[in-house]
Amino acid sequence: MSQLLIGLLLLLLFGCNGTQETEHPGVEKVLTAEFGDTFIEASIGDASTLLPVLASDSTSSGITGLVYNGLLRYDKNLVIEGELAESWDVSADNLVITFHLRKGVKWHDGAPFTAADVLFTYRLYTDPSTPTAYAEAFKQVANAEVLDPYTFRVSYAKPYAPALMSWATSIHPKHLLEGEDVTQSPLARNPVGTGPYRFKEWLGGEKIVLEANADYFEGQPYIKRVVLRIIPDTSTQFLELQTGGLDFMGLSPLQFDRQTETSAFRRLYSKYRYLNFGYTYLGYNLNRPLFQDKRVRQALAFAINKQEIVDGVLLGYGVAATGPYKPDSWVYNPNVPRYDYNPEKARQLLQQAGWQDSDGDGILEKDGRPLAFTIVTNQGNDLRAKTGEIIQRRFQEIGVDVKLRIIEWATFLKEFINPSNFDATLLGWTGGPEPDQYNIWHSSKTGPRQLNFIGFKNAEVDQLLEDGRRIFDQQQRKPYYDRFQEILAEEQPYTFLYIAEALPAVSKRFRGVEPAPAGIRYNFHNEWFVPKKEQKYAR
C-alpha cells in the first residue's frame, strides 16, 4: 500500500508461498462480495506515531500502511505495480524515472492529490531536520521535479536498483505539513492519507480504529472497519482469539502445532504457513584473532545441526538457511557450499588450525589457550535463547567452551554491538524481495553503529554489492548475487541458521483470502469480505 518498510514488514509477517493448513471445505459456492463487518487484530505494543516519515515500529507501519499510499507497491507475486502512479517509465540508462500519477485521487480531507505532494514527500524525507530513518534511498536522487500536476520525474547520478521501490514510500499531504515542524504535527495522532482506510480514533494503549474510505480510488473496501487492539501479552491474545475477540493472530510454532488442533478452533479459523523474509544467524566478530581463521568458522558451522534447531525450536515450521536469501526467491543460489552437521569434520578442521586437547580436559587448546568464547544475544527472544542453548551443547561436544549471555536490548546495543565488543552474536535480519545487502556486508559499513559490526571485509564482495545494486534486470543481476552467496558460504562470517515461517490464523468469516508469494494481507483492502449472513459486528 505504501512505504517500502511496510512492504518489508508485511512481507516479514506474511511472507511467501502460502499453503493453507486446513483441509479444503469441499465445494463452496461462489459468494459475491458484500460490504460490512469489522476486522479485529492485536499488537503487542502501541503505535508510536502515525506519520510514516517518523514511524519506525511495525505497529505504526501496519496502520499507516492502510491509511497512506505510495506511488508503487508489490503485487501478489512480488512484482512491482503502480499504486498512486498509474504508470512509470525508466530511461534506457536507468537514470531517470518518470511517474504518471492517477488523476482524481483525494486526500481524506477532500483536497486533491497531485505531483506537488510527491515532491514535498521527497523533500520532507531528505530535510536534515526531519528525524527519519528512511532518507537513505532518497539521498541517491540527483534531481526531483514536478513536470505537471500529474507527472513527476526523478533522476539519479548512478543507476540504483532499489530506487524504484523506494517510491513505495507513503506520500504525505503537502497542504497539511508544509512549513510545519514535522515532529510536532497533529497528523502524528490524526493521520490524513489517500489510502483505503481513514483514521477514526486512537485510544492510547488500548486500540486504534480505522474506517473504510468510501472514496478510495480502487473502490471502497468491503470490510467496514479495522480495529487494532493493543494486547501486550501473547497468551492473552491467544485467549482472545479463542473466544472470538480477535479475527487474526500470528501464532507461535507451539500454538500452531499443539494448541490449535482442536475441532472448535478449526471450525472458526483457517491457519496458513509460509516462509518469512529474514533469517537468524550466528555472527563471528572477525576482529577477534580466534575468528580470523576461516577453518575455525567453518568448523563451527559443521558442528551446528541446523535441522535440529529447526525441529526443536521452530517445531519444524521453518527451514535451515544457507545464506541471506530464502530458498523460494529468485535470487537464491542453491549451489553454495553446505555445512551439514558433521562433528568429525569440525574436529578435523580445528585440528588443522592447530587446536588440540593437550591437557585432556575436553576443551581444545592452542599455544596454551583454551578454545573458549561467549555468544551474546538479546533478551526477549525466546527462540534465540533456545537456539543458543542448542548450539552451546553442540560446540561443547567438539571441545569448544561456549558461554551464552542474554542481555537487555538497549544495553546489548550500547555495550556489545556498538563498540564491537563481543566474540559471537546470535541475531536476525529481516529483509524483503530487494536483494541489496550493501549496508550489512560492504566494508565501508564497518564503522561504529553501522550494520557490518562483525567487521567483514572482502574486496570481491564489495565489488559485487556495488555492481549488483546498479543493475535493474533480474536476469542480469542474478550472477552477482549468486557469487556473493558463494563467497559468504565459503567464508562463513555468519553461520546462517534458519528462516522461520509466518503462522497466521484468520477467522473463517473472512473470504477472499488468497495465499500468494506476497503473503495473505496484500488484497485485504479490495478482496477480503464477510458474507452478510456471517457478519458479526452490525455497526
Binding site: 519506525s56 502524528a188 488500548e206 494486547i231 485467549l239 473466544t243 544495553t411 555495550e415 556498538n418 553503529r449
Partner: protein, 329 residues
C-alpha cells in the same frame, strides 16, 4: 500544628531535589540511549540520524547541563516532551493513563480492606481455630501464587470455557452502542478479574497484619478493664479493641497513596490495561528519560504527601499522639 505543617512542607523541598538528582543520575548510568534504539539495526537508517537526534534531544550536553535544563522546566511544572517518536508532552502521556490506574488501585485497596479486616479480626478472636488455620493457608497460597499464572488460569476458565467474563481490555467492542446500564455492566465485568488479581497478593499481608494488631490490642490492660466491667464480648471486641487495632490502617492507607498512580506491569500486560505500570516499564526499556523522570517525580511527590497525610490523620485519630505533639510544641 501549623508550624509543624510548614516545617514538614519545607523539609520536602531538599528531599525532593535529592530524589530527582539521584534518579536522574541513576537513569543516565543505565547503558544505552534512546537514540540507539531508534536508529540501530535498521538497514535503511542513515548513520547521521543518530547524531541529529542526540542534538535534538539535548543528549550532546554534559549531564549536569541536562539536569539543570530539566529542573528549570520542572519548577515551572513543565515535565518536557517524551523522547519517543511521538514527542508528546510527558504530562499528556501520564494524564491519559491516570484515571484507569487510580480506579483499579482504589477498587483493589477497597477490596483488600473489606475482605482482610473481617478476616483478620475473626482469625485473631478465634486464634488457632480451624477457621484461622484455613484462612492463613488460603491467603498465603494466594500470596505465593504467581499472579500472572493465576490470571491466565482464571481467564481461561471464566473467559474461554465458561464465557462469563471478558478476557482483556476495558470495554467491549460496540460499547458506544450499549444502553447506559449496559455500559456500566460492561465496564464492571471488565474490571472484575483485574481487581481480583491485583488484590489477591495484598490480602495475605493485610489480613495477617490486622490479625496481629488485634492480638496485640486484646492483650492490653484496657481490654481487661472492659471485660472486668462486665461488657459483653461483642462490645469489647468490636468497640474497644477494633478501634485501636484499626489505627495502623491509617498509616497503611497513607503509604498507599503513591501506590495509587503506580501500576503492576504484569497484570496490566496480561489484561491489556493501558495503565501507569506499562507506561513506566516501556519508558525504561526505551530509555525515554523525560517520561521516566516525570513519573518518578510524581511518585516521589505523592509519597511525601502520603506520609504527611498519614502522620496528620494519625495524630487526629489517636489522642495519645496528638497530646504528645502538643506537649512537645
Amino acid at each position: 500544628m501549623l508550624q509543624y505543617l510548614s516545617k514538614r512542607l519545607l523539609m520536602m523541598i531538599p528531599l525532593l531535589l535529592g530524589i530527582t538528582l539521584i534518579s536522574f543520575v541513576v537513569i543516565h548510568l543505565a547503558p544505552g540511549e534512546p537514540t540507539d534504539l531508534q536508529t540501530q539495526m535498521n538497514p535503511q537508517a542513515g548513520s547521521d540520524l543518530q547524531e541529529r537526534l542526540r542534538v535534538q534531544y539535548g543528549l550532546d550536553q554534559p549531564l549536569y547541563v541536562q539536569y539543570f535544563n530539566w529542573l528549570s522546566r520542572l519548577v515551572q511544572l513543565d515535565f518536557g516532551e517524551s523522547f519517543a517518536t511521538d514527542r508528546r508532552p510527558v504530562f499528556d502521556k501520564v494524564i491519559e493513563r491516570l484515571p484507569i490506574t487510580i480506579l483499579l488501585n482504589v477498587l483493589s485497596i477497597l477490596l483488600i480492606l473489606v475482605v482482610s479486616i473481617p478476616l483478620g479480626i475473626i482469625s485473631a478472636v478465634r486464634r488457632n481455630s480451624a477457621f484461622d488455620r484455613s484462612t492463613t493457608l488460603l491467603v498465603f497460597a494466594g500470596f505465593a501464587m504467581p499472579s500472572f499464572w493465576l490470571a491466565l488460569l482464571l481467564m481461561d476458565w471464566l473467559g474461554v470455557r465458561l464465557g462469563v467474563l471478558p478476557i482483556s481490555g476495558l470495554k467491549s467492542l460496540g460499547y458506544e452502542y450499549l444502553s447506559f446500564g449496559g455500559q456500566i455492566l460492561d465496564r464492571i465485568s471488565h474490571l472484575v478479574l483485574p481487581v481480583f488479581i491485583s488484590a489477591i497478593g495484598g490480602l495475605a499481608g493485610f489480613s495477617r497484619y490486622m490479625r496481629s494488631n488485634m492480638l496485640e490490642v486484646v492483650r492490653q490492660d484496657y481490654i481487661l478493664t472492659a471485660r472486668a466491667k462486665g461488657l459483653s464480648e461483642r462490645v469489647v471486641i468490636y468497640k474497644h479493641a477494633l478501634r485501636n487495632a484499626l489505627l495502623p490502617v491509617i498509616t497503611i492507607l497513607g503509604l498507599s497513596v503513591p501506590g495509587l498512580i503506580g501500576g503492576s506491569v504484569i497484570f496490566e500486560t496480561i489484561f491489556a490495561i493501558p495503565g501507569m505500570g506499562k507506561l513506566f516499564y516501556d519508558a525504561v526499556m526505551m530509555r525515554d528519560y523525560p517520561l521516566i523522570m516525570g513519573i518518578l517525580v510524581m511518585g516521589a511527590v505523592l509519597t511525601l504527601f502520603g506520609n504527611l497525610l498519614a502522620d496528620i490523620s494519625y495524630a487526629l485519630a489517636d489522642p495519645r499522639i496528638r497530646h504528645q505533639e502538643q506537649g512537645e510544641g
